[in-house]
Symmetry: C2
Subunit: 218 residues, 2 copies
């Protein structure tokens, strides 16, 4: 059995890991702790064979470590769906609560929750929900809004930044998952872009268009 802290480390390593070892400092940053604490924890996780670790070489998840991490992500995202779909929370309000709920230990609970929610494949931010076996649905044609060609309609399928500030900004602009956006113009000087939304034509900064994931319509 893992402690909540251990689970949070695994989740952080999963998030930082893209075929490659994760550095101690990168982990310390993400966990908002000190490098020395990270070293200590890594050695514990290595002892439990959840990560591969060699001094000064960074860490990476083992198969069973990745498995454990995916189970936590699965729970986190299912609970987010529950909070939004059933309890009418906003997509900007659910992260913190799901951060707690993800540590509840009961496979049966997770599976029944999934069933109760109708086996959702994505959470309220468009992130994919791993199934019972840790398998994740991959979006084939998805890209960032700024990578779209001009005038081609695109459906919003996710956000790269799930911070309340960004999500609340999107709420204000009337942009939500499932909406259709059309890129009309790109301005070189500040990388901002003109976008057609259901609320009208709006100029979005670089930070905005690089944090919205879209798929070309149909």
């Amino acid at each position: 059995m893992l402690t909540s802290t251990e689970e949070n480390y695994l989740k952080a390593i999963l998030a930082l890991e893209n075929e490659g070892a994760v550095s101690t400092n990168a982990l310390a940053d993400r966990m908002e702790t000190k490098a020395s604490s990270v070293t200590d924890m890594i050695r514990k996780l290595a002892e439990k064979e959840l990560v591969d670790y060699q001094k000064y070489k960074g860490v990476s998840l083992t198969v069973s470590g990745k498995d454990a991490a995916l189970r936590i992500v699965r729970k986190h995202r299912l609970w987010e769906v529950f909070l939004v779909e059933k309890l009418n929370f906003g997509w900007d309000e659910v992260h913190e609560i799901a951060e707690q709920l993800e540590h509840i230990q009961s496979v049966q609970l997770t599976d029944r929750l999934e069933e109760f929610l109708g086996f959702p494949k994505f959470d309220p931010h468009g992130d994919p929900i791993p199934d019972k076996n840790g398998t994740i649905v991959r979006r084939k044609k998805a890209c960032l809004l700024n990578e779209m060609e001009l005038t081609i309609p695109a459906t919003v399928v996710g956000v790269n930044d799930s911070s309340p500030a960004f999500l609340q900004f999107l709420d204000r602009q009337g942009v939500q998952l499932g909406d259709t956006l059309i890129l009309l113009e790109k301005y070189e000087f500040d990388d901002s872009m003109l976008v057609e939304t259901k609320n009208g034509t709006i100029n979005f900064s670089h930070a905005v268009v690089t944090n919205i994931c879209v798929e070309p319509k149909q």
Copy 2:
């Protein structure tokens, strides 16, 4: 902010407290820990003004301690309702999971869950659910099954023992909340009793009839 352990202590004190101080040993028993650990924790809770404590005199909850304890009980029981009503768990399966869920910190979550469940007043074992202010609905006419008069129909409104073993036993006998039971005979020699149930007339031991709470019908 309280730790889960502190919350569990408060809950245990509330459960043991009936106008009177709770002894160190009684708490140690209930918490499945040692008396010395209890002393340490009590002093910490006293420092936070959640309990009144004098060496060798036992503890009792302060107003704010009782408040905190009731909030935890409220969450525990609301989650039990959720698990049974929405996720189709049996009443014998929910305690352990609710024991974890009760420590999730979010007043908004609790209140929305309550609303989602339709403001239930009792949990799946018939225990009352404190409202937002800690107020509990009291059953006026409730008593234990063995205290009923012979031949008077009574409705099952709760159980005193929520252990899976007892609840599964009741399932086997077809006894559940809302059922009508009629006490037909009392046998002095072993305090067992003959009871009419929807599954027929059954002889229940003393342990059974003193753990079923009933109300005279209408």
